[in-house]
């Protein structure tokens, strides 16, 4: 409640900066959810593939690593937008 009362006491530029920082943090959280789901799905399927076909593990791990890195790029783009708007 104290935080809300402090927020209500802000005026003008302070309120604008506070709402920009809050919105940027919220947007970054949303931007990190999608890649998180994607990486979870990707790694889960890769583990299943490696367990079923151990002889293809090297190939699967190569693809998995690149997939993780590409998916993580989405989170990094969200992070960069966050630091440019809200940090």
């Amino acid at each position: 409640m104290e935080a809300f009362s402090q927020l209500a006491a802000l005026t003008g530029d302070e309120a604008k900066a506070a709402s920009a920082a809050g919105s940027a943090g919220f947007a970054y959280g949303l931007a990190a959810i999608g890649p998180g789901i994607g990486i979870g799905y990707l790694v889960g399927k890769s583990v299943e593939a490696m367990a079923r076909q151990p002889e293809a593990a090297g190939m699967v791990r190569t693809t998995m690593f690149l997939g993780i890195a590409f998916t993580e790029a989405l989170a990094l783009i969200g992070f960069v937008v966050f630091i440019l708007i809200g940090l």
Binding site: A32, P35, G36, I39, G40, V43, G44, V47, E48, M50, A51, R52, P54, E55, A56, A57, G58, M59, R61, T62, T63, M64, F65, L66, I68, A69, F70, E72, A73, A75, L76, I77, F79, V80, V81, I83, L84, L87
Partner: protein, 151 residues
């Protein structure tokens, strides 16, 4: 009933003792990253001045350490169990994002930082190195990881 379709799969008990292709890919990307770093730093220097130079160097270091951490985590945990590897990749994703946030948060008010240069370099280096690396990766059973060097 022991054909491939009905075989019991135990990802939690399975592990991969083979070579770690992600380590060689990551090392190759770091090598290429260091190779193109002067070009990126110079470009940021032209656009954002001296602050851009320091910021782009910092951003390149963040991206390369991130690749090395990701590869090391997968390589180390795959030797223990595939289930652990999955957990490590998921928690590693969170931890690495938190580390990147911390690395930027600690220097955000420094005199030498230019946030646009830092952000642009992070995205360009990460995506650029990945796309460049695709040219050198052989996704085949014979050569998991990098393509073999031509004799």
């Amino acid at each position: 009933m022991s054909d491939a379709r009905t075989r019991q799969v135990e990802p939690m008990l399975s592990r991969d003792d083979g070579p770690a292709p992600e380590v060689s890919i990551s090392k190759d990307m770091i090598k290429r990253g260091l190779f193109v770093a002067p070009l990126l730093v110079a470009l940021c220097g032209v656009i954002w001045g001296l602050d851009g130079v320091w910021s782009s160097m910092y951003a390149i270091a963040i991206v390369l350490v991130n690749f090395a951490l990701a590869a090391g985590l997968v390589a180390a945990t795959a030797r223990i169990s595939l289930g652990l590897m999955m957990g490590a990749v998921l928690f590693g994703y969170l931890i690495r994002l938190a580390l990147i946030f911390l690395a930027v948060f600690l220097v955000r008010d420094a005199d030498w930082i230019s946030l646009p240069a830092l952000g642009a370099t992070i995205i360009v280096t990460h995506l650029g190195l990945l796309l460049w690396e695709l040219k050198f990766v052989a996704i085949s059973l014979a050569h998991p990881g990098l393509k073999p060097a031509r004799p």
